[in-house]
């Protein structure tokens, strides 16, 4: 039975950063991931990472941009911490070996990004997330004496002791199907987002909201789950991402009539307004008949010098070539808003602590909240690293002063039975893929850029029915080695828990703020709705709603213009 002071679940940027920080704090650390760490979805963050590192820039300016980007729903104390600590984190990564782009003087160079008042995005071509992820993994290999890696282990449930404090997790070794109880003084969830609820999505197939659902089931509070970001530039159909870096490098958006339509929506920032604004503008053009017949608008990258495209936007040259058959250096590419990121998640304080003692969350699965109603591009990598590090350091400190918990093995037995039950079940229920497809379609239809009560209620009813159906899904794989089929059945249930919370929050918030635009409540309502929507699992399994205050420090809400 593996025992650790700090057990990290998920090995993307937040998880790896937390593990390294906890190890630095002297803790014995285990890190579990359902995929090999370098397969994590942090890879997909292309554009870069924000920090006010330039002497002419200031953390206050970065913080204000973030507050404004959040549509005043972000907690300003958390945002201040993130922006203050950003420069040192960049330098730390640089010292570890991240191959950040340099300017002519050989110093760190920047690019422009959406919603930002200065060029403060540090980057590695358009593989920034991948470059940082792989460098952190180098460090995990370097420190393999202090950090035990459990690669391709799937966490099925969190375990608490009798006092209600976290005590570990039940896991399945994917490779041989064995189940194991991990004991830990503290557990850090860093399991990423839940984009697979929507179809299409930029998110990888692994982004199924596992940690969010597990925390919710264990009694943690979820916050602002309705805030789902639709990224302005995704490929129609499969939903793959075209980095905001393209617009940062100067690319333009056009409708089918050849108009640079952002002039009408954000005359100052144009294509570099914040993501919710650009996505709504595009969707408006498409809905009002000025899009292309395939339901898209055009992104023209050919205005960027070719050499610069090859140097700085190499990945999307490949995406265009391989997935759309378009040479982006020569012709515009058709794009539309697509599901990308969940601003909401497990409610934490600025040290990553959740409402369950000993349980932490960091990265996309967490909601500190630094992103509020809308995340700025290149703030997500920063969020994962700052709050990953803070969680890891805090958890290590806490673990030092306590003895190893002794959870009963009941939970392990229960989970084992649950999985065996799914494997042995006769084929009578629906297929996992059918339920997932229905969920993906209804969420993209009713819970996307524009929402209204009628549509959201349809989505809620559908999700509730699918939750019932998911309890009896049948699978084909009866084996133990790499039984991905049974894990898919578990992921489906996690996704449906997430979906129910997202829709519940979206119905509850009767205003338009950030990524939530209600056509039946089209105005932002600061009188009533500058507050977080909290959800916790009720006894009957449905979410119970409560509210918490938004922390304001120095920035009063203003009208938001770009």
């Amino acid at each position: 039975m593996p025992q650790h002071d700090v057990l990290v679940i998920g090995a993307g940027l937040a998880g790896q950063r937390a593990a390294l920080a906890a190890a630095e704090g002297g803790a014995s650390v285990g890190i579990i991931s359902k995929v090999h760490p370098v397969r994590s979805h942090s890879n997909a963050a292309q554009g870069g990472i924000n920090a006010a590192l330039n002497p002419e820039d200031s953390w206050e300016s970065h913080a204000f941009d973030t507050v404004k980007g959040s549509d005043y729903l972000g907690d300003q104390d958390a945002i201040e911490i993130m922006c203050r600590e950003a420069p040192d984190e960049i330098l730390h990564l640089e010292h570890l070996g991240v191959t950040f782009h340099r300017n002519e003087q050989g110093k760190l160079g920047t690019r422009a990004f959406g919603g930002a008042s200065a060029a403060r995005t540090y980057y590695v071509a358009d593989i920034t997330g991948q470059a940082i992820l792989h460098v952190l993994y180098e460090q995990l290999m370097k420190y393999s004496d202090q950090v035990d890696r459990y690669e391709e282990w799937f966490t099925t449930a969190l375990v608490k002791d009798e006092s209600g404090r976290i005590a570990g997790a039940v896991t399945r070794n994917i490779r041989d199907g064995s189940m194991e109880l991990f004991t830990a003084k503290t557990v850090i969830l860093a399991t990423g987002g839940n984009g697979q609820i929507f179809n299409p999505s930029t998110n990888a197939l692994i982004c199924t909201g596992d940690g969010i659902a597990q925390a919710y089931r264990a009694g943690a509070t979820l916050m602002d789950m309705e805030m789902i970001q639709y990224h302005p530039t995704t490929l129609a159909g499969i939903g793959l991402l075209i980095t905001e870096g393209a617009r940062g490098e100067g690319a333009h958006l056009y409708n089918a009539q050849g108009e640079r339509f952002m002039e009408r929506y954000a005359p100052n920032k144009m294509e570099l307004a914040s993501r919710d604004v650009v996505s709504r503008a595009e969707q408006t053009e498409i809905n009002e008949g000025r899009g292309f017949p395939d339901g898209t608008v055009a992104l023209d990258i050919t205005v960027v010098p070719k050499q610069r495209i090859h140097e700085a936007l190499r990945e999307i040259v490949m995406v265009g070539r391989d997935f759309a058959g378009v040479d982006i250096t020569r012709e515009p590419i058709h794009i539309k808003p697509g599901n990308h990121y969940v601003m909401g998640g497990i409610k934490t304080n600025v040290d990553g602590e959740t409402d369950v003692p000993g349980l932490y969350a960091a990265g996309e699965c967490a909601c500190v909240s630094v992103h509020g109603g809308n995340r700025l591009g290149a703030n997500s990598l920063l969020d994962t690293l700052i709050f990953g590090r803070r969680s890891g350091a805090h958890a290590a400190r806490v673990a030092k002063g306590m003895s190893m918990p002794t959870p009963t093995r009941e939970e392990l037995g229960r989970e084992r039975e649950l999985l065996d039950g799914i494997v042995k079940r006769d084929r009578t229920g629906r297929r996992v893929s059918e339920i997932k497809a229905e969920m993906g379609a209804v969420m993209d239809k009713h819970c996307a850029v524009f929402r209204d009560e009628e549509g959201l209620k349809v989505a809620l009813e559908t999700v509730k029915r699918l939750r019932e159906e998911a309890k009896t899904v049948a699978i084909d794989d009866k084996g133990t080695v790499f039984n991905q089929d049974v894990l898919g059945a578990l992921e489906l249930q996690y996704m449906l828990d997430n979906a129910e919370c997202i829709v519940t929050g979206a119905i509850e918030r009767k205003e338009s703020r950030g990524a939530q635009f209600r056509t039946d409540f089209p105005e932002r309502n600061d009188e009533e709705w500058i507050k977080h929507i909290n959800l916790s699992a009720g006894d009957d399994g449905t979410p119970e709603i409560s509210y918490s205050e938004v922390t304001m420090t120095q920035w009063e809400p203003q009208e938001r213009k770009y």
Binding site: R39, R102, A204, L205, P305, I475, D477
Partner: protein
């Protein structure tokens, strides 16, 4: 929507049975991926098909397999093209990668091979002394240069396709050596010489690569691992004078000198010059050269017998007409202060003012 036939190589380690084939028909647009085809079969027909996959966008490196015999990511291989390559009426054949043990179906044991080899090259930065207060100040080009290696997604396609590794499973291999270049080429690393010496002296290291281009061909991210290996070799010999195990440096140098002198390859002189700095007659031979030359006698004799080499030709080789033009190219390259690395990562094209290294060479010398 066209219908495609997929033929997957399956293996169930719990059955006690050998690998077998399963066929699936899937309806899909031609531009969708082979991965989408496999997932469609898994979703609709057989949930027990095993394949690692995640991003669908050639970023995460999970889904490298062999498609119609060629190693590739399933997610960035269009199913229509794969069907065309399979030929009329033939199914698209998908198998697990070579050179790594199969765990189940299309899933191979990357830890046992790929990651073990990555560990071998000490894959983390080893700077000299404490870091500076701010960032390390380094040439912008150096970061762009190693970003080609950083672009590696550790999918293992090159490892699966490596012919040298097939012959010698101990070979460190293309992915790990490309990773090594990421540190050797990084001006922040303080162990360049030690790393190069270690890799050059390893009997399964730098010089086990046979230059076959298989890794370059299959790499989905244009990392061109073989090029990184060649750059490691150039740095090892050119910058640090590290003797390589099979005298590749001497061979290359003899090759280049002969071309400079004659314009074409003076084959009879190639072998002696590879081992002797000037020529054999002058007696400036490398250690072990006599032994090597004796071992190579059968090759020389075959050359004599076939008439490819004659005693006359061995002593006299005609110069290429217009050889002065060849010489001019050499003079121009020699005159450059820095060694020109052919970084394929950034290739400018068209009528930009700024152009990449490749285009620059093409413009000046051709």
């Amino acid at each position: 929507m066209p219908e495609y036939k997929l033929k997957l190589r399956r293996y169930d380690p719990e059955s006690g049975q050998p690998a077998y084939w399963s066929e699936y028909d899937v309806d899909l647009d031609a531009e969708r991926s082979v991965l989408q085809g496999i997932l469609t079969a898994r979703d609709d027909q057989d949930g027990s098909i095993g394949i690692r996959c995640s991003c669908r966008a050639a970023i995460c490196g999970s889904c490298a397999v062999r498609i119609n015999g060629k190693t590739a990511l399933a997610c960035n291989t269009a199913i229509g093209e794969a069907a065309e390559k399979a030929g009329d009426g033939n199914p698209i054949v998908v198998e697990p990668m070579n050179n790594m043990p199969v765990i189940k179906d299309l899933i191979v044991d990357m830890d046992a091979v790929h990651w073990k080899k990555v560990q071998r090259v000490v894959p983390w930065l080893l700077p000299d002394g404490d870091p500076p207060e701010r960032e390390y100040v380094v040439p912008a080009e150096s970061m762009i240069d190693i970003t080609q290696s950083m672009a590696c997604i550790q999918c293992g396609a090159c490892v699966g396709a490596c012919l040298s590794m097939e012959a010698n499973p101990d070979f460190i291999g293309p992915a790990a050596l490309a990773k090594a270049y990421r540190f050797v080429g990084d001006p922040r690393d303080g162990q360049e010489r030690e790393r190069l010496k270690d890799l050059a002296e390893d009997p399964d290291g730098l010089y086990t690569c046979t230059h076959c281009f298989a890794c370059v061909e299959v790499c989905p991210k244009d990392v061109a691992p073989m090029n990184q290996i060649m750059r490691l070799r150039r740095r090892a010999t050119g910058d640090f004078g590290i003797k390589d195990r099979n005298n590749g440096y001497g061979h290359e140098k003899a090759f280049v000198n002969l071309i400079e002198k004659y314009g074409t390859l003076h084959e009879a002189q190639l072998l002696p010059r590879s081992f002797g700095d000037g020529s054999l007659l002058k007696g400036q031979t490398e250690p072990g050269a006599v032994k090597e030359l004796i071992e190579n006698l059968p090759t020389a004799i075959r050359g004599l017998k076939s008439g490819k080499v004659s005693p006359v030709k061995a002593l006299w080789h005609h110069k290429l007409p217009g050889q002065e033009n060849v010489k001019r190219i050499f003079d121009e390259v020699h005159a450059k202060e820095d060694r020109l690395e052919l970084n394929l990562y950034i290739v400018g094209e068209g009528n930009d003012e700024e152009i990449g290294a490749m285009a620059e060479i093409a413009k000046e010398d051709v």
